[in-house]
Structures are given as C-alpha cells and as structure tokens.
C-alpha cells in the first residue's frame, strides 16, 4: 500500500506542472499529441510585425528539423491567458507545418524564448511552453 502510494506520488511529481508559486510560471499540462510523422520549416528568422525593432533583427533565429521535432514532442500546454501574460514574448520566431501519425496536421510556431503555438487541423489551437528544450538559437535555459 505504501509502495503504491509512493509510486503514485512520484508519477504525479513527474507530470509537467511548473507553477513555482511566484505567479510567473504557468501551470503546464501534457499535450497528448500522437507521434510526429513529418515536419516542414516554412519560415525561419522571422520578425513579428508587432516588433518596433528592425525587420532583420531575428535573422539569426533558426531551428533545425530535429530541434523543432524535439520541441513539439517535449513541450507542455499552457492556457492562452498564461501564454499572453506570464510567458516572455520574443519578436523572433520560426514556423512551419507538422503532421501526426493519426492524420491530424498543424501549423507550428516557436518563439526564441521557448513559447510556441500549434494550430491543428481539428480546429484546436494549443499554446506551448518548453523551458527544458534545447536549441542552438534558444538562450541558455533558466537556472
């Protein structure tokens, strides 16, 4: 009984929750996305039209196919409000298409500070965050 409880507690602690009580980390949940079949990168080093900086400020922000695949696989889901209000926004992003094994496709976008979004062909939009994801163009992970 004690062992079962311990296993349950460990399993719960391993789920993506974040929310460190500071009010600056979003509550995160699993995306439950199926395995990825293909990834396309449409735009790299794109500067958001919302940015007041020069359009070429993001030219160095490039992600590899493997980095995009890893991001979509590892990222957690956050609410739209937390995406807009709690996560750091970056003017630099990359975007493209993804298809999953069960036939659903989507348009992904990943920002330089590890926030991202996924518009799925079933009508849903997932807001993503992956603080542990690694890519050459991401800043170092938070300490």
């Amino acid at each position: 009984m004690v062992i079962a409880s311990l296993i349950l507690a460990l399993a719960a602690s391993g789920s993506p929750t974040a929310d460190d009580g500071s009010g600056t980390e979003p509550k995160m949940s699993k995306t439950h996305l199926p395995p990825i079949s293909t990834i396309t990168i449409r735009n790299s080093g794109t500067t958001s039209p919302a940015s007041s900086e020069p359009a070429n400020q993001c030219t160095d922000f490039k992600l590899s196919y493997q980095e995009v695949r890893e991001y979509i696989r590892k990222a957690s889901q956050v609410t739209e409000h937390d995406y807009l209000h709690l996560l750091d926004w970056s003017p630099c992003h990359a975007s493209g298409e993804v298809s999953f094994n069960h036939g659903v496709t989507g348009i992904w976008a990943i920002q330089q500070y590890r926030a991202g979004s996924l518009k799925l062909s079933d009508g849903r939009t997932l807001y993503l965050y992956c603080p542990q994801c690694q890519a050459t163009a991401f800043p170092n992970p938070d300490e």
Binding site: A50, H85, D88, W89, K119, T125
Partner: protein
C-alpha cells in the same frame, strides 16, 4: 475617492462586480502600482468565462468593448497578471556596475529574482504589489498567421479609454499610488509591444 467594502470590492455605479474568486491568490498587502493589459481575446464574456476554471489567471478589472468596468478580483488579493519583471534600472539608465554585471547574460528568471529583491520604485510593480486592469482587445494577425506570434493588438477605443482614465484616477487617489507607477504590460515584462499601446490615462 472609492468606497471599498470589506471584501475588497468597489461600491460605485460605474463598476460592476463580476467576482471570479478562482483568479485570486495571496493577500495584497499594499498597492504600489497599476499594470494595464489587453486580453488578446475578442470579447469580455470570453475572458470572464475563462476566469471560472481551476488554475485560471486574470487581473482585478476588465474593461469591455463598450467601456463597462467589471471588477473580477478583490483589491485585497493578488492576481497573477504580470510575469517576469524586466530590470527597471536599464530602462531608466541607472544600473550600478554590479547590476550591469549581473545582467550581462540573458537570463529572465535571474533578472526577475534580482528585481524582486528590490522595492518599488527601484523595480517595477509585480504581482505582489500591483493591481491589473485588462482591456478587451484581440491580437490581430494576417491570413494564415498565428496571432500568438504575429498579432498586433487592436486599438483601445474611446469608451474603453474613458473608463480606464476614470478607474486609474480613482484608484490612484484612493490608494495613494503615484502616477509614475502606472505601466503598460510590455514596459514591465517582455511582451508583445503593441499590447495596450493605445491605452490612455
């Protein structure tokens, strides 16, 4: 001067109570500043309903498209609306050499931690000492673009700005908040710079 009841709710004909207790957090001991936001959504009703789910976050007030002011959280409780703080000393050109050295590497979490060791006005107001005002307004993107990355926030309309101006005047006089401590969200945190850009007070 506002009349605030024992629950932290404003008693005034211009403010409609739409209490959403699920967005309330710890006690708000002192209000040192006000942060002005835009919701990112198209309607007030969608924001109000999003505040009713577990773990929801929001701000203290919501100003709808027609200028209606809703109070969604008690003024005695914090809400989580700010995110990580930027270093205020950089924007105000007054960082010490020690601060500049600490900020040489991009690390928003460490930067926030460093800021939270200071008090307002040495840092920007944060969740623990600010009131948040949300103005209903979407981030609009071109066809095929995702508003999350490529959206530009719509203009705050005249009715919304009139309500914002009134609410900020009342809050600042009631709680003794200096007008220098009212900020648009992208000033205090790394956010889409068009958020609340057209908000006036």
């Amino acid at each position: 001067m506002l009349h605030v009841n024992r629950n932290g709710h404003i008693l005034n004909a211009r403010v409609r109570l739409a209490a959403r207790p699920l967005i309330e957090r710890d006690i708000l001991h002192r209000i040192r500043g006000i942060i002005v936001h835009q919701t990112g959504g198209t309607s007030g009703s969608s924001s109000l309903s999003s505040y009713t789910v577990k773990n929801a976050n929001g701000a203290h007030f919501l100003i709808d498209k027609d200028g209606t002011i809703y109070q969604t959280a008690s003024l005695f409780r914090q809400t989580w609306h700010v995110g990580r703080l930027r270093a205020r000393c950089i924007a105000e050109y007054r960082c010490t050499p020690t601060e500049l050295y600490a900020l040489r590497r991009f690390n928003p979490k460490a930067e926030h931690r460093m800021e939270m060791a200071k008090n307002v006005p040495q840092r920007y107001p944060a969740n623990e000492d600010s009131v948040g005002i949300e103005i209903v307004g979407a981030a609009v993107a071109g066809k095929g673009q995702n508003p999350a990355e490529q959206g530009v926030y719509e203009i705050v309309n005249a009715q919304q700005n009139a309500s914002l101006r009134w609410l900020i005047a009342e809050l600042t006089s009631t709680f003794g908040i200096p007008m220098t401590e009212i900020f648009r969200h992208p000033v205090v945190s790394r956010k889409n710079p068009t958020e609340a850009r057209s908000a006036l007070w």
